[in-house]
């Protein structure tokens, strides 16, 4: 590699990871002054467990993420199958409907969904956050699964059908195992996007349904504190482990599926 390219890469990665690294390191800072090192300590992590509102918000977030990611995985996979068809009436409109939520500014998605819920007289709370999150994350699932569908070997499906397998059996024994890594990746992506969302949840949530990002945001507005650094570090650790597990699963499944039968 050219030395200049090496420098560009190194600078780029330092820029991406430096701020996160600083935040993680200073979550173990003894001092309450967040930019002055005062020795190693885990006291801020102990303080987190005592914060019952934080624990409650974490529970809400995990519930919402699990429910909305499951819903988004089913709907997104269905959308991917539909878009993968050779003949699909109204394709430009339908594919636009699938892709648009990914780039739509969150404030617009949040406001419009809230107005829908109010218009329909649906009480705001956990359910409305789940619906909202499933709606914007299903697009990401659809894109990931569709990319995989496009790359699978059609002759395998035809062979199974030629050998007399009914469509359901072809789907469950051939298609699904082939796209499983993408479906799992899509689920994990939807899960993290849901866990991360502040803007849309703020619009559509109601009393008693405060998510972790909403709770974090109300504290972040007051300034930098070691407690926020500690909870952020825990979140980053959880996500990193999740991504690592997902890529390991995908790599193993990918190899297994790639073995010629």
């Amino acid at each position: 590699m050219h030395p200049l390219a090496r420098i560009a890469l190194a600078l780029g990665l330092a820029f991406l990871y430096g701020p996160i690294l600083l935040l993680v390191v200073y979550s173990f800072n003894e001092s309450r002054l967040v930019t002055v090192w005062g020795g190693f300590s885990t006291r801020w992590y102990a303080a987190l467990l005592a914060d019952s509102a934080l624990v409650a918000a974490t529970t809400v977030t995990l519930k919402v993420a699990l429910a909305s990611a499951s819903l988004a995985t089913v709907l997104g996979t269905l959308a991917a199958f539909a878009l993968d068809r050779r003949r699909l009436p109204g394709r430009p409109l339908l594919s636009g409907l699938v892709y648009a939520p990914m780039v739509m500014p969150e404030v617009i998605t949040g406001l419009s969904l809230l107005l829908l819920f109010v218009g329909l007289g649906i009480d705001r709370g956990l359910v409305t956050i789940v619906i909202a999150h499933a709606t914007f994350t299903l697009s990401f699932v659809a894109v990931v699964v569709q990319a995989r569908l496009r790359s699978i070997d059609r002759s395998l499906l035809e062979a199974a059908a030629d050998l007399g397998a009914p469509p359901e059996q072809v789907f469950f024994t051939v298609t699904l195992p082939l796209i499983a890594p993408a479906v799992i990746a899509g689920f994990l992506l939807a899960f993290t996007l849901s866990m991360d969302d502040l803007v849309i949840a703020s619009f559509v949530s109601g009393p008693g349904a405060t998510t972790l990002p909403m709770r974090l945001y109300s504290q972040v507005r007051l300034g930098v504190t070691p407690e926020i650094n500690a909870i952020s570090t825990l979140l980053i650790a959880a996500v990193s482990l999740g991504v690592l597990a997902a890529s390991l699963i995908a790599a193993r499944r990918g190899r297994a599926a790639g073995v010629p039968v």
Binding site: A8, G12, L16, L75, P92, P101, P105, L115, L189, S232
Partner: protein, 303 residues
Amino acid sequence: MTALAERLRQVAGPVLAFGWLAAFFGLPFAIVLKISLSDPATALPPYTPVLDWEAGIAGWANLLAALDFENYRTLVRDPLYLDAALTSLAVAAGGTALLAVIGYPIAYAMARAARRWQPLLVALMVVPFWTSFLIRVYAWIAILKGDGFLNRALLALGLIDQPLAILNSPAAVMVGVVYAYLPFMVLPLYAALERLDRGLIEAARDLGASRLGAFLSITLPLSLPGLVAGALLCFIPIVGEFIIPDLLGGADTLMLGRVLWSEFFSNRDWPLASAVAMAMLLLVALPVVLFREAEARRLEREP
């Protein structure tokens, strides 16, 4: 019977998926449009409904009579909204340009790295995307604030005498935008550069083109689809960005997303917030349409 069941099965999936999107993504926009045309009220919900569904034909007649563009007139008249729109566009355009300049060398270096390192490099670009947006923006407060890491480092090095006031300035918003959206620019660019046939560059060099000449006539044009995709993936969400200007920007970096937020949550003026949303939608609709066209052309070329 089985043929009918099969047809049902084939239709049910798409109907469920697209029906969901139509109900929870398409329909809400119609409601936003409707409410942007109604008057604010101090009730719950805080707007005067323009259309009374139970009133039938008379309701529709009332609808047409009650529609007014008062909220949109406010948007045009009050310089606050025009300023916010211009700031949003300026930050989005400037940020996207900066992202292209910073992201291109990184994507280029990734595409030129040894094959076996490339999956790792892509993963390193993707991981920040999985990490909470809020946390990543928050991390910059500690760096940019008056007694933050940056000022401490610069003071210690003797480069400045007084701490710089970066936090709560347009510069901080720009830093936040570039930081948060860098993977969105780098990954599509990398995808385009990685596919590029190096033989073409060698051929150009053999035929006497300089390094720069080969880059300008081969590499840059062939990576243009990636650049366009990256630019749109950055530009559109930045126009509506709320978290970055709210946490890093000052009172003067008022962007549309922030205006919409405060109209809704602080002023409880839902009709005006809806009008801001429609205006923002208009600003981003054009790039979306262009992106779709480009995507369609690309998919046609490589079936």
